[in-house]
């Protein structure tokens, strides 16, 4: 058999590009929300809302394109797995947009407080989350299973940071009751940041499914 040019590849590449644009918006939203909180900057937080709107628009578009693709191309095997993964990753990215918006709202509340410093682990946690999101999207482009495994492993690091931050803030809640709201907002920020990592993990799991046909969800310990 001879290799054949497939028009379907153009459609699949368009789908991938749309999803990556959405991923870019999520990455920007994470950066902006983190800057907004650590620098106590409303202008950065305003950018998050802008990105979230773009993410929602892309969310609808990706779904529409997937629906068209499924109806018109009736994909099978790796093509089918890819479209299925795009639909799922699309949902994850949209939720990630929502999480950044939640962080933004908690950030605004936090900005009103007199507390100047956020826990230093929040910075490290954000770096981990950004690494996971970027790597999951890179892995999607390259269908890189090894990179996916790295993403899965980093989820534990993010969980540890979240626990450290929450423990620290619980102590502060007791010792500094005047700033209860600010500490509670920071706890919510850490929790939402950790949820971002969970979505990046979902994406990595979906990419492994596309590349290998194996569903490793709910048991990715084996693949680590």
């Amino acid at each position: 058999m001879l290799p054949m040019h497939r028009h379907v590849d153009t459609d699949l590449n368009d789908l991938k590009d749309l999803l990556l644009s959405m991923g870019g918006c999520v990455e920007k939203a994470i950066d902006e929300v983190h800057e907004g909180i650590t620098k106590k900057s409303e202008s950065h937080l305003a950018q998050v809302e802008k990105q979230e709107k773009l993410i929602n628009e892309l969310h609808t578009r990706v779904d529409e394109e997937c629906l068209k693709f499924l109806a018109m191309q009736a994909p099978v095997a790796s093509d089918l797995r890819l479209v299925l993964a795009v639909i799922k990753i699309n949902t994850d990215l949209e939720r990630m947009g929502d999480q950044t918006l939640n962080i933004c709202y908690n950030g605004r509340e936090f900005l009103r407080s007199t507390i100047e410093q956020v826990p230093k682990e929040l910075d490290s946690m954000k770096k981990e989350v950004r690494f996971m999101v970027k790597s999951a999207l890179d892995a999607f482009v390259r269908q890189d299973v090894e990179l996916c495994k790295k993403v899965l492993n980093h989820d534990d690091i993010v969980d540890r940071y979240r626990n450290q931050i929450v423990d620290q803030l619980k102590t502060k809640l007791k010792s500094d009751p005047n700033n209860t709201d600010a500490y509670l907002n920071l706890i919510m920020i850490a929790k939402n940041m950790e949820r971002l990592a969970d979505h990046a993990t979902n994406i990595a799991e979906d990419v492994i499914f596309v590349a290998t046909g194996t569903d490793i969800r709910h048991g990715h310990e084996q693949i680590k």
């Binding site: 058999m1 497939r6 099978v76 095997a77 790796s78 797995r81």
Partner: protein, 253 residues
């Protein structure tokens, strides 16, 4: 019944020097629909024509190996090919009702050849076959009209009824819907799924979606070899062989 209705062992088929089917082993269970897919010239039609000894009718054609039908080797010594063909019905790409015969006679022809003459028995069998092929309500009032007067889709269902009338354990279908419109195709597909209760179907198709819609297992042939045989749900979501993946996704042709 459970277990294997057909068991093919080391089947090789030739047209003179051309080796069309190479060392194929394949089993089919009772009440199963098996789809054979693969590019044109890959040997899938030749393969099914070996399952009812039609292949040997072509001048210069021969085959080796064993095909067990209900535990009996159809290539065994003394086996009558006509009896084999009665037990393994066949439906072709183009509907081929017998010209000059009525709808009734088209269905009854196999039974008559088998020696059935009693009118009530014939009537009952014809009605049953036409009902099973989802044609009865459309033709019950014109059974004496010529079979060739029906539409293409109806003619194909008539051919299925003709094959069913002699109650074979297996029916082979060689691209039975490739000449039909989507509605007639859908009717035949529904029919095949229904027929599973009574008969085993082995179908050659170029329509991937058809294979995925109606079959329980799919066999992928390439250049005379059986490349992959497995659950249809697996073949169309996660084929094991790269060649299968490339063929069904249209990366090679």
């Amino acid at each position: 019944m459970d277990g294997e209705v057909l068991k093919v062992e080391k089947l090789n088929a030739y047209f003179n020097d051309f080796h069309a089917v190479k060392d194929v082993d394949l089993s089919v269970n009772y009440h199963e629909v098996v789809a054979l897919i693969g590019p044109s010239g890959c040997g899938k039609s030749t393969f099914i024509r070996c399952l009812n000894r039609l292949h040997e009718e072509v001048p210069g054609a021969r085959c080796t190996g064993n095909v067990w039908l209900d535990g009996q080797n159809i290539y065994g010594k003394g086996v009558d090919p006509v009896v084999v063909r009665r037990n393994v019905g066949m439906v072709f790409q183009k509907p081929n009702p017998f010209p000059g015969l009525s709808i009734f006679d088209n269905v009854a022809v196999g039974l008559r050849l088998a020696g059935v003459t009693k009118k009530s028995v014939l009537s009952e069998a014809v009605e049953e076959a036409l009902r099973k092929s989802a044609l009865w309500t459309e033709v019950k009032d014109k059974l004496k009209k010529p079979g060739t007067g029906l539409s293409g889709g109806q003619q194909q269902r008539l051919c299925i009824a003709r094959a069913l009338a002699v109650k074979p354990p297996v029916i082979l279908m060689d691209e039975p819907t490739s000449a039909l419109d989507p509605i007639s195709t859908a009717k035949i597909e529904e029919l095949i799924v229904e027929l599973k209760n009574d008969v085993t179907v082995v179908i050659v198709t170029h329509n991937m979606q058809q294979a995925s819609r109606i079959s329980g297992r799919t066999a992928f042939f390439l250049l005379g070899e059986l490349i992959e045989y497995g659950k249809t749900s697996k073949i169309f979501t996660k084929p094991q062989n790269l060649k299968t993946e490339q063929y069904i996704t249209g990366r090679f042709g």
